[in-house]
């Protein structure tokens, strides 16, 4: 079985746990449970009949040859049950293990919700464990560093304001070589659309900004990007359980849109950010729905194509498959819209089985890839089923409108030597759309 033979060192977990005392653990746990453990926690834990039917949902479980310690309920058993049963009297070692399980063995992909007869949201329970571990200061180092970046800079990648603006201008310059009239409108009050992206785009995937600018420009969208904070819609704090910071991030993002008086926010091709803005962060702030309408790039592209704002010039000359990002399929049901766009631009699609809202997670989401290199092999071993799924399609190109999926699937492709590569919807559209003003 796939239990790693060597213990994985992670300063965030090891040093965090070393500072704990049983008294502190008990106090913090009971504080969190008293303040935040509501009816859902109680009902979920009380009505789980321990049937194990959720197991087949989980890629970790399936990839580890049905090792029950990786089943969704198995992870709850190893984390939350003892915490509740012992009323918080657990050891620092236990907290370290619980943090590892909740942070690196669950992607919060919510596939198990489709499998649980009782409708238990196990992702919610895992987040509760992460929340407790966060409050105890036992969170994997890399993702904690990202959360620190959020706190210090309001973006995920320690990008400073001048660097942000400079990156946009750089991409604008590049794009003007292709479309001389193109602008990336900064801080344009009253635009229709605020386009927000995640920190890694200006940091090391700047060509995505270029492509988005070309699509926006050619589609004739009245758009803008904020010049100061609020441009980054990503949110690792949601995944570490640092909800207070998550709230600050989401408020900053919404307020940027409100400051710019836009009609809606269009988010780049990122799954977790969409979950954070549309589903989680707004609730923390007390908004039933986002105060400014929010749509994901996949939906935006679908609408542009449907309304004839962008047109297909040529078909992408390869058969492709689609990696459905959990956070926009189980999080928003965008799977058919993604296919609408892909089928318009590509020769043919070979589906993975299962697909759409029953897809398997990429194993990178839920902050797991953000736990960094120490935990990479967990993702590789934990998603053999995805490698098998990908190999079975026999295609060379995977399209996925999600940064996490890209990171996760790329690693899987390399590890299992699948010889495939990934594309965003934006990549395909940029390549294959009509470009009237281009030189």
């Amino acid at each position: 079985m796939a239990e790693p033979a060597k213990r994985i060192e992670d300063a965030g977990l090891d040093e965090g746990a070393a500072k704990l005392t049983p008294e502190k653990i008990e106090k913090v746990i009971n504080g969190v449970l008293a303040a935040e453990g509501g009816a859902r926690l109680k009902v979920y834990v009380d009505t789980c009949v321990h049937c194990g039917l959720c197991s087949d949902a989980c890629h970790y479980y399936l990839s580890h040859d049905k090792d029950p310690t990786y089943s969704p309920v198995g992870k709850v058993k190893q984390t939350l049950w003892p915490i509740l049963k012992n009323k918080g009297r657990v050891s620092p070692e236990f907290i370290k293990k619980a943090s590892e399980i909740a942070s690196t063995e669950c992607n919060l992909c919510r596939r198990c919700v489709h499998y649980c007869p009782m409708g238990v949201d196990i992702a919610y329970l895992m987040v509760m464990v992460r929340r407790i571990c966060h409050r105890l200061g036992v969170t994997p180092l890399y993702i904690q560093d990202t959360a620190h970046s959020h706190s210090a800079t309001m973006n995920q990648m320690w990008v400073k304001e001048d660097e942000w603006i400079d990156s946009l201008q750089w991409q604008e310059d590049e794009a003007r070589d292709e479309i001389p009239t193109l602008r990336i409108p900064l801080e344009k009050e009253g635009a229709d659309v605020m386009y927000s992206i995640i920190g890694p785009e200006p940091k090391f995937r700047a060509q995505l900004i270029y492509q988005a600018a070309v699509i926006m420009d050619l589609a004739g969208v009245d758009w803008t990007m904020p010049a100061s904070t609020g441009w980054d819609n990503s949110d690792m704090c949601m995944f570490t359980g640092e909800f207070e910071m998550m709230g600050r991030l989401k408020r900053d993002h919404f307020e940027a849109a409100q400051r710019l008086k836009v009609k809606k926010i269009v988010m780049g091709e990122c799954g977790h950010a969409y979950r954070s803005v549309y589903d989680v962060g707004n609730r923390w702030l007390g908004w039933k729905w986002p105060p400014v309408p929010v749509i994901h790039a996949a939906q935006f592209f679908y609408e542009l194509l449907r309304d004839g704002k962008i047109k297909v010039a040529k078909k992408f000359d390869e058969v492709v498959t689609i990696q459905d990002p959990c956070n926009i399929v189980r999080g928003m049901g965008l799977h058919e819209k993604v296919r609408y766009v892909v089928k318009a631009f590509c020769k043919d699609v070979v589906e993975m089985e299962p697909n759409r809202d029953h897809n398997f997670c990429c194993c990178a989401g839920g902050g797991v890839i953000n736990c960094g290199p120490p935990w990479k092999m967990k993702r590789m071993h934990g998603n053999r089923v995805k490698a098998e799924q990908l190999a079975a399609t026999g295609v060379k190109t995977v399209i996925s409108p999600c940064h996490n999926c890209h990171g996760g699937i790329e690693d899987i492709i390399h590890h299992y030597k699948l010889g495939m590569h990934l594309k965003f919807l934006g990549d395909i559209i940029y390549d294959c759309m009509e470009k009237p003003g281009a030189v």
Binding site: V43, T47, C51, D56, P68, V73
Partner: protein, 219 residues
């Protein structure tokens, strides 16, 4: 013998029903209050349409992906739960007791059918026991309490079956039957058997989260 029978048939039955109904109300009301206080959006997002969509997909056999993937389990669990609910409610002997005590009666199952259904419940318990003992995904999360609950559920049906057939020690089995039935009823609100109360509510909520908020299936 009148004394013991009258005791389990009379005062103890009242205790069981009060614990069952009162306990259920207590659990539901206290959970409602807690949700109002701490999980307000449960009420905000829950809609009738998606609540029903979810519940229906999970109470109709093969209505969801997991039940299609596990046909044997699905058949067993549906047969088990249908019989589990129908036999106590529609058993002629039970209805006669209702009629004697409260002057109310309703349609009853033929005794022969009810007999087979009771066996199905016991067989279902046997299947679940087998799963807990042998299937790693169930075994790993099984604790002593799960066996106790299986026993609590199986006992009224085993004893009822034995009492009905009167092979040996009729009155002994009858009294044990009543007693175990009362334990079962009283246990519902306070054990995992409370999934009977919370299943529809849980589904209504999660079905609405998936349907109304996330525009996707939960089945």
């Amino acid at each position: 013998m009148h004394g013991l029978y009258n005791f389990v048939r009379g005062p103890l039955a009242w205790v069981a029903f009060i614990l069952f109904i009162g306990g259920s109300l207590y659990r539901l009301i206290s959970m409602y209050k807690l949700a109002r206080k701490k999980d307000v959006f449960v009420f905000e997002y829950t809609t009738l349409y998606f609540a029903l969509r979810s519940i229906l997909h999970w109470i109709i056999p093969f209505g969801n992906i997991n039940s299609r993937n596990r046909p044997i389990f699905t058949i067993v669990t549906f047969a088990f739960h249908i019989c589990l609910l129908a036999v106590p409610i529609f058993l002629l002997a039970h209805i006669i007791l209702w009629d004697e005590s409260f002057n109310i009666n309703w349609w009853s199952l033929p005794d022969g059918v009810a007999d087979i259904m009771a066996l199905i419940v016991v067989a279902g318990c046997g299947y679940f026991l087998w799963r807990r003992l042998t299937q790693p995904e169930a075994k790993f999360v099984t604790s002593a309490g799960d066996y106790v609950i299986l026993a609590i559920v199986a006992a009224p049906f085993i004893t009822g079956f034995l009492a009905y057939h009167q092979w040996l020690g009729y009155k002994f089995w009858l009294i044990l039957h009543i007693l175990s039935g009362e334990i079962w009823l009283a246990a519902i609100p306070f054990t995992r058997l409370s999934h009977m109360l919370f299943f529809p509510l849980n589904r209504a909520y999660i079905g609405s989260e998936f349907g109304a908020v996330r525009h996707v299936r939960d089945y």
